[in-house]
Symmetry: C2
C-alpha cells in the first residue's frame, strides 16, 4: 500500500499489487479449505430459506400500474420501475422495436473488501439469497448496496461493511469503476464496482467468509454458485503478475497490455470509437401501455410471439429467525442463454474473440461482448443468415477444446431464473473471423486494461474475463 513520505508525497508500492493478486490466485486453500467453504455455504441455507411464489399483479402490495402510463412502479417511487422503450438501430436482424425495460437510474455499489491474512489477500464474500436465483444461496460480494443504502436519504436499512466503501479511504482503493448491466433488460443501469483493501480489524460475520482468489476461481467452475455481482467485481481487479509456468500459455505484458497482441491498444480503442460513431441507436422511453406487440394478463406481460421474456410478479417469504416478506416484479427470460468466448493462441499468446455489440439500454451505444451472447430460441424463426454468428460452433463444442462450461445466473433481485451456459472454447487453427469488422481478437491483458474504465466490457464479457482468469 502507499505510504506517506516525509515530504507528504506518496511512495507508490503498488508495484507489488500484481504479485499479491497472483499469490492469492495461486492459493487454493486459504483460512478455509474448499470443502469448508462449501460446508459453510450449505450451513447458511436454512437461515436464508426463501419461498418464492408467482402471484397476480393485483397482489403486488405497494407496487402498481400507473393509471396514465401503465408503468409498473413502487408506491414510494423507490427501487425500480418497468417502463416502455422504443428502439431504432441500424444493426442486427430487427431494426425497430418496442419493449418493456427496467428503469433504475440510481447507481449502486458492488464492493468486495480484501484483506491480507497470513500474507495472502482474501476476499470477504457473502452468502446471499435472492428470489430469482435458481436454487438457494450464492456467493455475493461483501456489499450490494443501493444509493438509498449509502446516502441514507430514505433511512434504508444498514448494510454491513458499507462504511468500507462509502466513503472509502482513497489510498485503500484497488478498483473503482462504473460498469453497465444487461442492456437488453435495463435502461442505462450501472453500478459502481469496487475492491477496497481493509485492515485486520474487519472480521467476517456469520454470512461472510474470507476466500482467496484461487478459491473463488475454483468455485466459479460450479453451476450457479458465484453470483453475477461477485463476478463483475472480480473482473475489475487489476492484472496479476505473470508467474510463468510450463503448461500454460505465456500472457505477455506491456504498459498498455498490448505486448504480444494481434492489435495495438491504439487499434483496439480506435475500433471501439469507430463502432460507437458508425452505429446509430436511437432510444426513447415510452409509456409501458403504448408498447406494441406486448400483452398484459393478470400475472404477466409478454411478447405476442412468446419469445424474449415476461414481466411477472412474485411473493417472497424469507428468513427463519427474522421473518421478512415482500412482493416484487421480476423479469423472467424465456430460455437458457448461451454466452461464449472463442479463444485462440497467436504466437503462443491467448486471444479472445470479442464482439462490438449494440444493446438498447447501453449509455454509449456499443459495448464489447463475448463472441456469442444469445438465447437461441429467440432466433429460431429467423432465416439462417440472421442466426447469431458462431453459435453452431459453440453447440458442437468438443470437451477437449472446452476450457469452461458452467451454468451461471444473472442478478436474482431483478431476474427470475435467468440462466446462461457460459463457455470458453478454443478454436482450431483453421478458424477465421468473419470480415465484417464486428469481431476483434483481444488479449486478457488488453481486456484487463479496458476494465479500469467504464462501459467498455458488458456484464456478460466481464463474467468471462473472471472465468478466463480462473483457468490460468
Amino acid at each position: 500500500m502507499p505510504t506517506a513520505t516525509s515530504t507528504g508525497l506518496l511512495r507508490h508500492t503498488d508495484a507489488s499489487l500484481p504479485e499479491r493478486i497472483a499469490e492469492s490466485a495461486a492459493t487454493i486453500d486459504g483460512v478455509l479449505t474448499h470443502r469448508e467453504v462449501l460446508a459453510w455455504l450449505e450451513s447458511r441455507q436454512p437461515h436464508h430459506v426463501q419461498e418464492v411464489r408467482r402471484i397476480p399483479f393485483a397482489e403486488l402490495g405497494s407496487w402498481g400500474f400507473d393509471p396514465g402510463t401503465g408503468n409498473l412502479a413502487h408506491a414510494s417511487g423507490r427501487f425500480f420501475s418497468v417502463e416502455g422503450l422504443r428502439v431504432r438501430s441500424d444493426f442486427g436482424p430487427v431494426r425497430e422495436w418496442s419493449q418493456p425495460i427496467i428503469h433504475q437510474p440510481e447507481i449502486g455499489i458492488l464492493g468486495i473488501a480484501v484483506r491480507e491474512i497470513d500474507g495472502v489477500l482474501h476476499c470477504l464474500m457473502q452468502a446471499k439469497a435472492e428470489p430469482g436465483n435458481p436454487g438457494g444461496l450464492q456467493l455475493a460480494p461483501t456489499v450490494q448496496a443501493t444509493r438509498s443504502n449509502y446516502t441514507r436519504v430514505h433511512g434504508g436499512r444498514v448494510v454491513p461493511y458499507l462504511e468500507q466503501f462509502a466513503p472509502a479511504d482513497p489510498r485503500q482503493v484497488i478498483a473503482d469503476v462504473l460498469q453497465s448491466e444487461q442492456g437488453a433488460w435495463f435502461y442505462r443501469k450501472r453500478n459502481r464496482n469496487m475492491v477496497v483493501e481493509v485492515g485486520p480489524e474487519v472480521e467476517a460475520g456469520d454470512d461472510f467468509r474470507w476466500l482467496t482468489l484461487g478459491q473463488l476461481h475454483r468455485l466459479l467452475h460450479l453451476d450457479n454458485v458465484v453470483n453475477m455481482d461477485a463476478r463483475t467485481v472480480l473482473s475489475c481487479l487489476p492484472a496479476a503478475a505473470d508467474r510463468g509456468g510450463a503448461t500454460r500459455p505465456a500472457i505477455a505484458r506491456s504498459a498498455d497490455g498490448s505486448a504480444g497482441s494481434l492489435h495495438t491498444t491504439a487499434e483496439v480503442l480506435s475500433w471501439v470509437t469507430r463502432m460507437r460513431t458508425e452505429h446509430e441507436l436511437v432510444t426513447e422511453r415510452a409509456p409501458l401501455r403504448e408498447i406494441e406487440r406486448w400483452h398484459q394478463t393478470d400475472s404477466a406481460i409478454a411478447h405476442e410471439s412468446g419469445r424474449f421474456f415476461s414481466v411477472v410478479a412474485v411473493d417472497v417469504q424469507a428468513g427463519c429467525r427474522e421473518v421478512d416478506s415482500w412482493q416484487q416484479p421480476l423479469l423472467e427470460p424465456h430460455g437458457v442463454g448461451i454466452v461464449a468466448l472463442l479463444v485462440k493462441r497467436f504466437d503462443g499468446v491467448m486471444h479472445a474473440l470479442i464482439n462490438a455489440r449494440v444493446e438498447p439500454g447501453y449509455l454509449d451505444v456499443v459495448e464489447l461482448a463475448p463472441t456469442v451472447q444469445c438465447v437461441p430460441e429467440n432466433y429460431r424463426h429467423l432465416p439462417p443468415d440472421s442466426q447469431p454468428p458462431y453459435v453452431d460452433l459453440v453447440r458442437a463444442r468438443r470437451p477437449e477444446r472446452t476450457w469452461f462450461d458452467v451454468e451461471l445466473s444473472e442478478e436474482g433481485g431483478r431476474f427470475y431464473d435467468a440462466r446462461s451456459r457460459y463457455v470458453i472454447l478454443e478454436v482450431d487453427d483453421g478458424f477465421s473471423v468473419r470480415p465484417d469488422g464486428q469481431f476483434h481478437w483481444l488479449t486478457l491483458s488488453q481486456l484487463t486494461v479496458l476494465l479500469q474504465h467504464r462501459h467498455y466490457l458488458n456484464v456478460q464479457a466481464r463474467t468471462l474475463v473472471a472465468a478466463l482468469r480462473a483457468l490460468i
Copy 2:
C-alpha cells in the same frame, strides 16, 4: 509503424512513437519557418473573407421556429437545432434552471493527418474561416467533418482528405477517441478526435500546410490563431518521450502515467467514479417555448437578467472567387471567459489542479475541468461564497508566475465571438487546496493517459493540456 511478420502477427514498433512526437515538438522550423507559416495564413485571408451580419430570425432562410415546440431548426432536419433543457442538479450555487441548448446528435470527425517529412512528423493544418471567429482565419485540423460528410447519406460536399479518416487504416491510427464539447451549450455533443499517419502521397493543398508540433506549440501562444477543433485533437496525442533537459521540470513516467504523482491512477479513477456516482444531474429536453426566464425578440433569445448567452441569427457572405452565402443561428456568450489551470511542483514533478465539474450537456454527469472555468460576469450578483473558487487568484496573477496567458476562441461554426482568456499559473508553495474533494492534483502524464478514453477531460481542459505541452 507496425509491420507484418512472417506469422502474420504485427511487430509493434510503436515504442518509437513517443520519440517521434518528442522530435516533432522539438522542431521549431519544419518545411516552413514560423515566419512563412504566418505569411501563408495571411495570404489565405483574401480567399476566405466572410462578411458576417446580424439579422432578425425572420431572415434566417431555411431555418425556422417549430410552431409546436418553438425549437429553432433547419427545414431539412440537418445541422443542429436549438431546443430547451430543464436541469436539476445537487451542485453549484443554482440547483434548478431551464435554458436553451444546441442539440446536434451526430458524431463528427475532427482529424489531423500526420506525415514524416525529412524524418520529422508534421501535422497537416488547414486555414479555415468560421462566421463566429473573432477576426479572420484560424488554424484548423486537416478535417472537420459532419456525419453527413462521411456517410455521404445526404450527398454532402466532398471534404478534402476525409478518405484518410473514414475509413482509416487501423494500423495508421495514432489517436481515435470520442470527446465532449461545451456541456453548458451543447446537449451531449461529441466528436471523434483522430490523428492518423499518412504517406508521402498525401500533399498539402492551397489551404493546407505541414507544421511540426513545435510550430503548433509556438502558434498556440498567439491570440485566436489555433482553433478549438485543432486544440482538442492535439490534446489527444499520445505522450512524447521525455528528453530531459536542465531547465524544465522532470515529468516522470510509468506504465499508467502515475510515477512521481501525488495520487496513484487508481485513486484518480476512483475520484472520478465517486464524483459521477455521488452527484445527481437530471436533465430533460423540453420545448424551447416553455423555457422560463428566457425571452425572445425579433433577433435574439436571451435570459431576462442579461447574463449567460443569447441565441442570435447571422447572414454570412463568403468567398471572393467562389460565391457562397448562407444564414444560420449562433450562440453568443455574454462576456469573455476565464479558463485557468493552477500548477504546482511536487518533488519536482509538475501537477495541474483539476476540477470535477458537472455540466448539463455531459453524457456522463461529471468531466474533469480546469481549475477555473467561468465568465465572471455571470456570478457578479451572487454572494462571495458563491463565486467560482480561485478566480481572484487568477485575476491577480503576476507575470513571472504566469506560464500561459492567451485569448482563444471556441468553435466559430456554432458560437459567435466566444472568447476566453486561457491561463496557466504556477501557485506559491503556501497554496493549499480547498478540502471539499472537488479538486485534485494530476500530472500531465496522468492527463495524457485519461485522454486515450472518452469523456474524462472536458474541452476547456483539453485546450490547456495542449498548452501545457506547448510550454515544455
